[in-house]
Symmetry: C2
Subunit: 255 residues, 2 copies
């Protein structure tokens, strides 16, 4: 890392007006030159969706005199694609996504717009980190900001392997209660669906997707277990999805 | 597999009125009892998005006297969640998704609604297959239907490991030109973005996400290479994303 200020691209999936992106923006300003491109509304659970059938627009957005960014009518992955592919003059040194309201662990990371933004950055060759805080409602981002600064500096110093991002989950606790950092694997946490069937005022049936998070992790080498025990969980994630173990079996199927 | 007809859930991401789902419906009728729940409009490139902030509706849909299904105002993953979690009386024996207009290979499978529907099925414990045809515009589904029947019967016979789906890509060729089946790995095909900047009639700037597929695969053990050489590509896919190789390095970072 040279002495020039690193260029940081900041995005998220809760939208440019969320609390979490503001906290991450404050933290990143201590490290480098920050450009914000984020969805103009909440885009939770959009996964790795990209917008190919509608025009994308980028509107300047100013939350206060210092926080200036760009609001995009697309998904988190769109924001990263448009930033790198067209909008930014120079490729950023790092992409940070978050701070998400709610953890992104286990199989739930597949639904996460926050993690998918980092995945898109990784696929475009830029070291990327996703940050998520294990609560849906808080104004306390002190630990989150400390973690974001440390992790971002560390990635700028060490780099990341091609194709790998860091998925960082932050426990809901005070700085003084946090146990430190734990390098983890993606665990087995999942979302147990509960589809609520209701009737609207005109008598038509509709459903709400609802449910609860279930975690059966048994080791603090797993993300969900670490978070439950007040560790910051740092999981390296990659997207080579082939189930190599099953290939030989499959070859025996005589297709 | 017993002699009772298997229950088959059919979905896709091009929507319930697409050509590909009709072809797959015709094929599946030769095997079992088919229930169709699919998006009411095209949902290409939505990835693993799920709908948590809007009500979901399920409308009966009849394309002709035999093809009866249900149109959902959600994503492919929504269709699978709602079918298994609430709508169907019995869990299906298998889920098939497709036939997608266009291949889903390499890193592009991350954007695919077709593959994500199968991934959702897998996460809910149902053996699932995604089918994609390597062309965006055809009326010739003869090879696709033959492949769909063979692969679906094979999965019903053999089962699949927990957490693993099959991603099947079908070449654009006649049955007589097809080389057969190749068990492959997810290759390195990717989408090279080209963001086109335009001005609307009111003088406002907008962007179209565009680009082209790039494939550098060098072995027909990879999906893109196999398809280019008229093989049916069958890739077992799983979603444990931890980069285990990088964990030791990461532990040395002294966080």
């Amino acid at each position: 890392m040279n002495n020039k200020k690193p260029r940081i691209l900041l995005t998220n999936d809760d939208g440019i007006y969320s609390k979490g992106i503001y906290a991450l923006w404050e933290a990143m300003n201590e490290i480098g030159e920050v450009t914000v491109l984020a969805p103009n509304t909440e885009k939770s659970a959009v996964g790795h969706a990209v917008t190919i059938s509608d025009p994308l627009r980028i509107e300047p957005c100013s939350r206060h005199e210092n926080f200036k960014g760009y609001a995009v009518n697309g998904t988190p992955a769109d924001c990263v694609k448009i930033a790198i592919g067209s909008f930014l003059d120079k490729v950023p040194n790092i992409i940070v996504s978050g701070i998400n309201a709610g953890s992104n662990m286990g199989t739930n990371i597949l639904y996460s717009g926050t993690v998918s933004a980092a995945a898109e950055g990784t696929m475009l060759g830029v070291p990327s980190i996703a940050f998520s805080l294990n609560t849906f409602n808080t104004d306390n981002y002190e630990l989150s900001k400390e973690v974001a600064i440390k992790m971002t500096k560390s990635v700028l110093d060490h780099g990341l392997p091609n194709g790998t991002l860091l998925n960082v989950n932050i426990p809901k606790c005070e700085i003084s209660e946090c146990q430190g950092y734990k390098i983890t694997s993606q665990g087995d946490e999942y979302f147990l669906d509960d589809l609520q069937k209701r009737e609207d005022p005109r008598g038509r049936i509709y459903y709400w997707m609802s449910g609860k998070i279930v975690n059966n992790d048994t080791s603090n080498e797993q993300d969900g277990y670490a978070i439950a025990n007040n560790w910051v969980s740092v999981t390296p994630i990659q997207y080579k999805l082939t189930d190599h173990k099953f290939i030989e079996d499959l070859k025996s199927w005589k297709l």
